[in-house]
Every structure is written in structure tokens, then in C-alpha cells.
Subunit: 411 residues, 2 copies
């Protein structure tokens, strides 16, 4: 099967299984300009699926880099109102979102971290009122990925650029279950049904807390909110439309009790954040809050993440993935959260997903806070799963059940 | 010299001679996504020139085609307010514009002409209040071109796509005076100074009317407004910043008296309009207004152009170009107005340029109308110059002076 045919299949599942655009609905695709050929396939699939309108929100990270290097912080932080209005218009029209990511890890490494931080905060504040649309599943949204030269060379540094691109494309297609002669739609249905089984089991257990330990030095207690809900695989919007927020996805995830986290977590993979690559880092929590941290590389970026706002020093997500998962079995470090988070248990600093607590998508921000949910302008995943991860679940009555042993689900 | 080096030179003159972005100024580049590598060169040149910020307004004509084919007219005509606000924001910030065109002639040929017309009118109405910024040179603006596969195959139908692209690229670079080992900036200064000499001579003559005749059947009288000004080559903004609106440019142009045009004009080249290619057409004028028209191909599009609004059936521009000009000497039909208009005398239906009458850039729309200027939401050039074009200038006292003979300036 030619690459073109595979890409057509990929575009189809991105539009139909991912964003699942409905007849008459507005689809907003955000993508890098270099990926225009794949975007055209997605636009075609979207209209074939009956989309009412497809709007593409283009960007070019190479121009962004030039802009960050040449323009002063004040100008960069003064986000024009029409950018907000553009997104608001889409949401007011009941849109769904498809994001096609192909960013180069560490591209912004030469940019002053304080400048990056200021831009992130300005953007976070400006778009805060629009964050709920995706966080609370008011409309469908999906994130998929394509290789770029810079990313491929980071993943396969010993290969020539062209070969590296091909290898990364293969790895991505494997991860999203697009193969020769398979029916990826059927595969995805089977797969998400499996993930939902894990969720059911975890929801039945109704753990009060999870205790993570491994040889890397992680010894972390993560309390879970009362009436929590484990989610995974496809999700439903508040109007009941199924979609897959991430392609690939291998995780089941839940809501930590904001103040119920303590101990130390050691990251098992680098984190690509705001154009920087943070490596060899750990965080220590008390009463839910990060009280100390360290990174071998880009510690200032880690500091910026933790100190982004009040909520970015608390957890908003805990996610479980068997070490023996399809993505992790490829043995590739992707330097990209969409893939690495699905190869490894992970946590997120920042805002919790309302859907992870009973009735959450109908709660106000205040009600969510009362339920124990963390709030923030940001939400950043980082990976800490290992081959020897052990997880003990502590039930409401204090009894314990082993959830993970040697990196994998026990059930 | 490698193509890359030539493209860097081209980007430099587009940014510095074309838009002439000033230190601290906002530059808005509009471009097709497939041209992202050239855009990056322009962004780099702009920041090197001290641009305060570069914003890129991306589009993809292939997605536009899919959208026009699949979305109903009502939705397409409902232009979101944020699009208007985006352009207004740029103008309020004193921006300059650089448009990089590479459109495929006739791409929209399958789209219902009535639909195209409705979209053009809706867009014209929506953006009408913002039209003056470029029409009256409130800020600098420039239009340049790059080859695209579809355009190149139209110009060189017998060549393979890759070779056609190379030939068109060469032709464009020749037309914009980017050559091996030349200094295109110096070339442009010399060239625009030559064009200004023609303007000076024409302004001294102060003709009441021009009379065009040739063997193709053109016999047209074009009255010129009182206190008209011939312009050509580079121009100045109202703040006195030099720029080149078109690259290439070979024309000197003036303002017809709205009601002072009569006779028949036969087009000498096809016209690419709203995605359609209008061929073999002629227009007959009485008291300035088109009273009849004909086209061998796409006559409905010609009808849509003439009937776009009240002003689109009157002339807004008359431009003189020697038949023996660098672009016309290449002997290439470009199917693109930016090039073909610079190979041939042309006229424009629609709005006149305020700068073509004394004090015009400070006049209100009403004052311009009183001065004899045509007004419209549109401005579309079409070519009628030929190898045998004869132009007789009629002075205010009725005496005549030959301006063109056998297709060329006599002076």
C-alpha cells in the first residue's frame, strides 16, 4: 500500500473517529503550513462527512521562532482581540477542533525562557474563558500528529533526514493503527472498548488513593477525588457525540484530589514544553503542592511551568498505561507528549478535566474547586511510568489492591 | 547562482523595494501555504529590516475550491466579523502589506458563477471601509508572484510540471529584474526613475483625452479627469514612504473621466477573474458606461464583473505600456494580471486610484466623485495593448500629439 493511501486512511480516522465532525458542523483544523497536503486530505474527508464548513487555522513554527527572537515581550504579550474573537466565533457556532501537530522538540531553546513564560501567561489569560469548550467536552476535539524533519531527526538522530521522516511516519501510523489492509475504524472501536473495560474495573474499585513506587526513586501518593470517574479511549461531548481526543491513546485517566498528593515523582522521559526540552527532572509534593523540583537540563523552564500560576504547582490528571503497550513496545522515545504519554504512566500539572468527577461538566469553576479539582490556565502532562512501576490502590476502607506490577496492569 | 540565492534576492526586494517595511512597523504578508519557504525568507528579511512584527495571513486555494464546491452560498456570504477586525487591527496599527500570489488560473471553473459573484459581492461590501488604506496609499502595499504547478502548466502546457515550474520561475525572476550577479535594488531604482520620466512628459502634455485604435477593432476614446496625475513605478504613501505596489511594473497609469469614455475596446489577452478565465472579449462604452459586451469563453463571468456594482461598468484606470517592454518581449502569456498587465496597455473596470487626481488622497468619496473619479467595490484590470496600437493624445485646446505608434511610446 502506498504512503498516499495510508495518509488517506489516517485523514479519514482523524476526521471521523477523532473530531467526528457532524453533518452541518463547523470544523476548525489547526496545522503547520508545511503539512498542507495532509490538511487537504482532512478537508476533503470532512466535506465528504457532511461538514458545514471547514476553517483552517494555519501557523508556521519557523516564523514563530523568528518572531520570538525579534519582537519585544510587550508586543508579543499584547494579543489582538480578533484572535480571541476568531476562536469564540468558532465555539459560538458549535464547532469541533482537529489539531495536527508536527512541532520540532526544543525549537525555542534559544529564546529567553522569561519571554516564553510571559507569552504563555498572556495567552493563557487571554484565552481562559474559551478553555472550557474542550476541557469540559462542550464540542468534539482531537489531536493527531505528523512527522516534521526537525522532529524526525530528534527521534532518529543517526538516520538521514528522509529516512528519519519515513521511520517516524511509520511509527505514527503504527501507533494510530493504520496498517496495510486493516480497517482502522474497526480497530479503533475494538481498542476503545478495551480501554473502557479498564475504566469500569477502576471505577468499581473506587480507590481513595494510589501509591506509586519504582526503582527510579518515585514514591508518590495520589489521592483521588470523591465520586471520581476514570475515563479513557473515546469520550462523549455534553451533547452525546463520541470522539477521540487523542490519536493515539492508550491511557485511562482520573482526577487527583488537589491537596491529597504527597511524596516524590521522578520523570522517566524528557518533557517538551514551550519549545524547550526538560530532561532528568523530579518533583516533590506536600499537601498536593510542588514544594521542590530539579532538572538536569532546562530547569528554568521547569520552574516556569511549576510557577506558571497557582494551579500549575498542583496535579490535574493521573493516567495509567501498561508498560507493555503498543507504543512503548516500539521502543521509541518520541520527544512528543501525544506519543510518550501513551507509552507511560503520566501526571499533569494544571487544570483537571471536569469529566473526571460525577456531574463535573455541569459544575461551575467554584463547584469543581469544592469537589477537589485543580484549576489553572495550563495543563501539561509529564511521564513517569517505568518497566518496574508498582501501583497499590487503597480503597475507601483502607484495604489495598495491586493495580500495577512490573509496569503493567494486574487485572 | 543557485535558485535559493535568487529567491533570497527576490525576498529582499519584495520586502525592501516592494512593501518597504519601516523600523517598528507591522508587516502583513498574505500567501498560499504551499509558498511557505519563500514566506520564511520574506519574514527573515522583514525582521532584518527592523519590522516591529510580521503577521502571515495564510490561505490555500485548494481548500477554498473544496469549500466553494461544498458549502452553500448563504454560509459563504456570511463573513465573520473577526475577519474584518483582523484587517482593521492591522491598518489601525499602521501596517504595510505584502501579497505573494501564485494562484492557478481558472481553478474555480467548476464553481457556479452566480455563487462566485455572490461571494465577491459579500466580500466587497464587508471590506469596503478598509479598501481606502491601499487604494489611497495610506500605507505601503506590494504584490509579487511565485510559480505554482497549476499556473506553470497553464503557461507552459507542453512541458512536464517540474520544467514548467522552472521556466515560470525564470520568467518571474527576469520580470522582477533578479539576475545572476546584478544588484536588483539598483536596477529597480533606475527602472522606476525611467517610468517617472514618462509620467512627467504625460503630465506636461495635460491631455483632455486619449484615442486608442488598432487592427483588432479597438476604437476607444478615454477622457481624462481635470488635474489628473500620471503615476508609475514607485509611489509614496501619504506619509511619504516610497514603495512599489507591483513587482514587476512597467506601466504608467491615469484616471479616466467617469462619463468621458466612448467607443469599443477589444481585449488582447485572456482575463483571469474570480477563478475563471475569460477569453476573446470586447466592451462597448457610451458616456463612460459599458452598454454591451461579448466573450467567446466565460461570458457569464464577464457579465458578473460588469454588473458587479454600479461602478464596475465604468473605467477606473487607463495604463500605457510599450509593446516593446521586457515582459512582453519574453513572448509569454502569463494568464496572470500582474504580468500580463505589464506587457500591454490596459484598462480597469471599477474604482479609480485617488492619487491619480491632484489632492485626491485627501478627498472624501463624494469629492472624488465630483472630480470625475469612478467608485466601486472592485477594481479589475484587463489588457488591450497590441503590436499595432496607435494612441493620439488630444490636448485641452484640441490639438493632437501622437503618444503611441506601432505599439510603442513615441517620445
Amino acid at each position: 500500500m502506498s504512503l498516499q493511501t495510508k495518509l488517506e486512511k489516517y485523514a479519514k480516522i482523524a476526521v471521523k473517529m477523532g473530531a467526528n465532525v457532524q453533518p452541518g458542523q463547523l470544523l476548525v483544523i489547526s496545522a503547520q503550513v508545511r503539512d498542507y497536503e495532509f490538511v487537504r486530505l482532512c478537508v476533503k474527508e470532512a466535506y465528504a462527512a457532511g461538514a458545514g464548513y471547514v476553517q483552517v487555522d494555519w501557523s508556521d513554527e519557523m516564523n514563530s521562532l523568528q518572531t520570538y527572537m525579534n519582537v519585544d515581550t510587550e508586543t508579543l504579550c499584547d494579543i489582538p482581540q480578533w484572535m480571541y474573537d476568531q476562536r469564540k466565533w468558532a465555539q459560538d457556532n458549535g464547532c469541533c477542533f482537529l489539531h495536527i501537530g508536527s512541532g520540532t522538540p526544543g525549537l525555542m531553546k534559544e529564546v529567553d525562557p522569561a519571554k516564553m513564560q510571559a507569552i504563555q501567561i498572556a495567552s493563557g489569560k487571554k484565552f481562559m474563558p474559551l478553555q472550557n469548550y474542550t476541557m469540559a467536552n462542550e464540542g468534539q476535539w482531537s489531536i493527531v500528529a505528523l512527522p516534521s524533519a526537525g522532529w524526525a531527526k530528534k527521534v532518529f538522530p543517526d538516520k538521514e533526514e528522509e529516512e528519519a521522516m519515513e521511520c517516524l511516519m511509520d511509527a505514527i501510523l503504527t501507533a494510530v493503527r493504520v496498517q496495510e489492509d486493516n480497517d482502522p475504524v474497526a480497530e479503533w472501536k475494538q481498542h476503545t472498548s478495551n480501554l473502557r473495560k479498564y475504566c469500569s474495573w477502576l471505577n468499581e474499585q473506587n480507590f481513595r488513593e494510589l501509591h506509586f513506587t519504582n526503582g527510579l526513586g518515585t514514591d508518590l501518593h495520589v489521592g483521588l477525588v470523591k465520586d471520581h470517574i476514570w475515563c479513557g479511549g473515546n469520550e462523549d461531548t455534553v451533547k452525546g457525540i463520541e470522539f477521540n481526543p487523542n490519536m493515539p491513546t492508550e491511557e485511562v485517566f482520573c482526577m487527583p484530589e488537589k491537596t491529597g498528593v504527597y511524596g516524590k515523582v521522578v520523570a522517566s522521559l524528557p518533557l517538551s514544553y514551550a519549545g524547550k526540552l526538560i530532561e532528568g527532572f523530579s518533583l516533590t509534593f506536600e499537601n498536593g503542592k510542588v514544594v521542590s523540583y530539579h532538572a538536569d537540563k532546562e530547569e528554568e523552564s521547569l520552574k516556569n511551568l511549576v510557577e506558571f500560576d497557582e494551579g500549575s504547582s498542583y496535579l490535574g490528571e493521573v493516567a495509567l498505561i501498561s508498560y507493555d503497550s503498543p507504543i512503548s513496545n516500539m521502543g521509541i522515545l518520541f520527544y512528543n507528549t501525544l506519543f510518550d504519554e501513551n507509552a507511560s504512566c503520566h501526571l499533569a500539572l494544571g487544570r483537571a478535566y471536569p469529566m473526571n468527577v460525577k456531574g463535573g461538566t455541569e459544575m461551575s469553576r467554584e463547584q469543581l474547586a469544592q469537589a477537589g479539582a485543580n484549576d489553572s490556565m495550563t495543563h501539561v502532562d509529564f511521564m513517569f511510568g517505568t518497566r518496574d512501576m508498582h501501583i497499590e490502590g487503597i480503597k475507601q476502607d483502607g484495604t489495598t489492591v495491586t493495580v500495577f506490577d512490573n509496569g503493567n496492569f494486574v487485572i
